[in-house]
């Protein structure tokens, strides 16, 4: 769950297959490697809206920290109240030199069980807590998982963008193809489309409130709409702080178990 704050998954591969491929890979890599600060903290507000307009809300405290090449993230649910206190700790590692991915180390703390559980760190294409975002959508999907191509250019949100296609190499992947509009100047994603296994449009992404916070490009509001189920998730970040002191002990299993992370 690396870089939870809206650094969308656009990743590249070394092998070029089209005339645009080299620059597609470069664009993907630059978008992937956008700086996000040594630390960050904030409150994530998630609103789920069903096809009848009924809404449900979640509020999550989020802390991130870079520790060498490892990205550490702690998420603590504040609301809804029945899941308050459920916490996740994740260590994300960079790809190996040969391009293969390294599974994250992940733990979940369940207050009702008073127990930290080790959880699988490999499933990134699952929905994030019932939202329309997957863990991959909210993190930095590994560059080695997709083949990239540039489909064209278009203006979105008033800025010139490349239309970047990321095709999953895994034929069983839930999302077979991601198309994102990447700002030519900042490499920040402006919108996106996600296609299912049958290559039918499944989800659309709109990005708003894109601004620099302490010098880091940040998307403060994203809306993911599942066009097949008419379900929508609005994901906003509040009280965002970069490069401010974060209690390093928060990023430990014992802090989760002690319910120390506020």
């Amino acid at each position: 769950m690396k870089h939870t704050f809206f650094k969308l998954a656009v990743s590249g591969l070394i092998f070029a297959t089209t005339t645009f491929a080299q620059s597609a890979n470069e664009i993907a890599k630059k978008a992937h490697d956008l700086p996000t600060g040594k630390t960050s903290s904030g409150t994530i507000s998630v609103t789920l809206i069903d096809k009848n307009g009924k809404t449900r809300n979640r509020e999550i405290a989020s802390y991130t920290m870079k520790d060498g090449s490892t990205d550490k993230t702690v998420l603590v649910f504040k609301t809804p109240r029945d899941v308050a206190g459920i916490s996740y700790l994740t260590y994300d590692y960079p790809d190996k030199a040969d391009g293969s991915t390294v599974d994250s180390d992940s733990w979940i703390y369940l207050p009702a069980m008073k127990k930290v559980r080790r959880v699988s760190g490999s499933s990134k294409d699952d929905d994030f807590q019932g939202t329309d975002f997957t863990y991959d959508d909210l993190g930095t999907r590994s560059l080695s998982k997709d083949n990239f191509a540039i489909l064209g250019e278009e203006k979105v949100n008033g800025v010139d963008c490349w239309i970047l296609e990321a095709k999953a190499k895994d034929p069983k992947a839930k999302v077979s193809r991601r198309v994102t509009w990447v700002d030519k100047k900042t490499y920040v994603v402006q919108k996106g489309e996600y296609y299912d296994k049958q290559n039918k449009l499944q989800k659309t992404l709109t990005c708003e409130n894109i601004k620099q916070v302490k010098g880091y490009w940040t998307t403060q509001k994203m809306t993911m709409t599942n066009v097949q189920s008419n379900h929508k998730t609005v994901y906003e970040i509040k009280d965002l702080k970069y490069d401010e002191k974060v209690n390093e002990s928060y990023f430990t299993v014992s802090a989760l178990e002690r319910e120390q992370v506020k």
Partner: protein, 452 residues
């Protein structure tokens, strides 16, 4: 006066500077016996309304945590162990202090003082090394292993580094499990029958009718856990020196010879008493992630543990002066488990657990070797508004089974409605095994919970 006002304002400011969180829930649940529950068929086996409140208050590196419950029990099935709950005489109301502690964390050391609940081990809903907290044993209908845990009054000192944690516990006061002593409890007549084969049983009526350890320093409990968390595996070692949470039952014949006048006939009854015994445990566990899987291993060794002797050997095999309520044997417990989280919101867990008593003999109430397998499948759908959980345990010796199907529907973010079916079946040839004796508690339960 001004000075007191200033002091008051200063204190108020301090309190306001604290971050205080209140979490509450109100649960109402009713369970009724299924057609295979014999005499319990159609009877209410559960009827509770529970207000649960938790206050967490953070001040710098310290935290105060308090969790308590007010319970109304329509069946009058609430009991106490003398410390975990204050219960009305008729068992209809209970006031429970589940946890209340002060927690402080320094650079390397941490301290937790007060009533606390801790989970040991990697097993799900099975006790291998998880011996620290006693349990409320008064309910089997829609029961939750974790919710049944009782807080222990303890001092915990921890040594913390980035990847390791060492916890040392001193538990000055022993907390026993809560037994179904209330007469309104559906389990009561099963655990404490009034008579067997026409012979009256004089059983304990209150928790302190059992022989509890004295409240002395020498009767304290001690525990130690050392854990490390790495990319390859999470590993823990455990040690415990304390008391077994359940009493060992002593059966004693009580014969009053008739004198032909006031008491014309000889009466024969059995007096039942119980006592708690020391227990030692060393154990270890591991959780090893591998792709979509997490493998779990856990083992424990209980040297010279006291095991209950059966009623027949107590009454008929031994003389009155050498009638043992227990025999000491070594016990080994082991578990291998697997968690699988494939795509699509599925969670599948499977466990195998083996439990052996070394040098077992026929005087013991339990078998020499017991083993069972468990399987749990959980799936959330409709953007996690509906969760379906199916779980089961198969006793691999006598093939008795326990199974549960639970549907949880989130009516709103705050309100969850649950339908829970519990089915206990004997093995072939009517063998009770591990679960057959609960057959009469097969039930269906409806539960509504609001969190705020």
């Amino acid at each position: 006066m001004k000075r007191f006002t200033a002091l008051g304002l200063a204190l108020a400011a301090t309190v306001c500077a604290q971050e205080t969180v209140f979490l509450g829930s109100l649960t109402s649940q009713a369970g009724v016996g299924l057609p295979n529950a014999h005499h319990n068929k159609g009877d209410f086996l559960l009827g509770q309304t529970i207000f649960d409140g938790t206050v967490k208050s953070y001040l710098d590196e310290a935290m105060i945590y308090v969790n308590g419950q007010i319970v109304h029990d329509a069946l009058g099935s609430q009991s106490t162990n003398g410390s975990s709950a204050f219960v009305a005489d008729d068992g209809t109301y209970a006031l429970k202090l589940r946890e209340a502690y002060i927690d402080w964390k320094g650079e390397l050391l941490a301290l937790r003082i007060g009533r606390q609940i801790t989970s040991w081990g990697k097993a799900d809903d099975l006790q291998i090394t998880d011996v620290l907290n006693p349990r409320d044993e008064t309910n089997v209908v829609a029961a939750d292993y974790n919710e049944s845990k009782l807080g222990i009054d303890a001092v915990r000192i921890s040594l913390l580094t980035e990847k390791t944690q060492v916890d040392a516990y001193w538990i000055p006061f022993f907390t026993p499990s809560i037994l179904p002593l209330a007469k309104g409890n559906p389990l009561h007549s099963r655990v404490f029958p009034a008579e067997v084969d026409g012979i009256g049983i004089n059983y304990p009526e209150k928790y302190d009718d059992f022989e509890l350890p004295e409240k002395r320093l020498s009767k304290s409990e001690l525990a130690l856990r050392a854990s490390t968390y790495t990319s390859v595996a999470d590993l823990s070692l455990y040690g415990f020196y304390g008391w077994d949470d359940l009493p060992l039952i002593r059966y004693k014949p009580n014969i009053v010879f008739g004198d032909g006048e006031d008491m014309p006939a000889t009466s024969y009854t059995i007096d039942v008493t119980g006592e708690y015994k020391r227990m030692y445990m060393i154990g270890a566990d591991a959780a090893i992630p591998a792709g979509d899987f997490v493998f779990r291993l856990e083992g424990a060794f209980f040297p010279k543990r006291h095991f209950q002797t059966n009623v027949n050997s107590q009454l008929f095999k031994y003389s009155e002066n050498s009638r043992p309520a227990s025999k000491r044997k070594n016990q080994v417990l082991g578990l291998a488990g697997l968690d699988w989280t494939p795509s699509g919101g599925w969670t599948i867990t499977a466990q195998y657990v083996a439990d052996g008593v070394i040098d077992h003999d026929d005087d013991l109430e339990r078998k020499g070797f017991e083993h069972q397998a468990t399987l749990s499948i959980e799936k959330s759908i409709l953007n996690e508004t509906l969760t379906i959980m199916a779980s089961g345990a198969l006793d691999l010796w006598d093939f008795s089974t326990a199974s549960e199907l639970e549907l949880d529907y989130k009516l709103t973010d705050a309100i969850t409605l649950c339908l829970i079916g519990d089915l206990y079946l004997e093995g072939p040839d009517g063998k009770n095994g591990l679960y057959g004796e609960y057959r009469d508690f097969s039930s269906v339960t409806f539960k509504g919970k609001m969190s705020f």
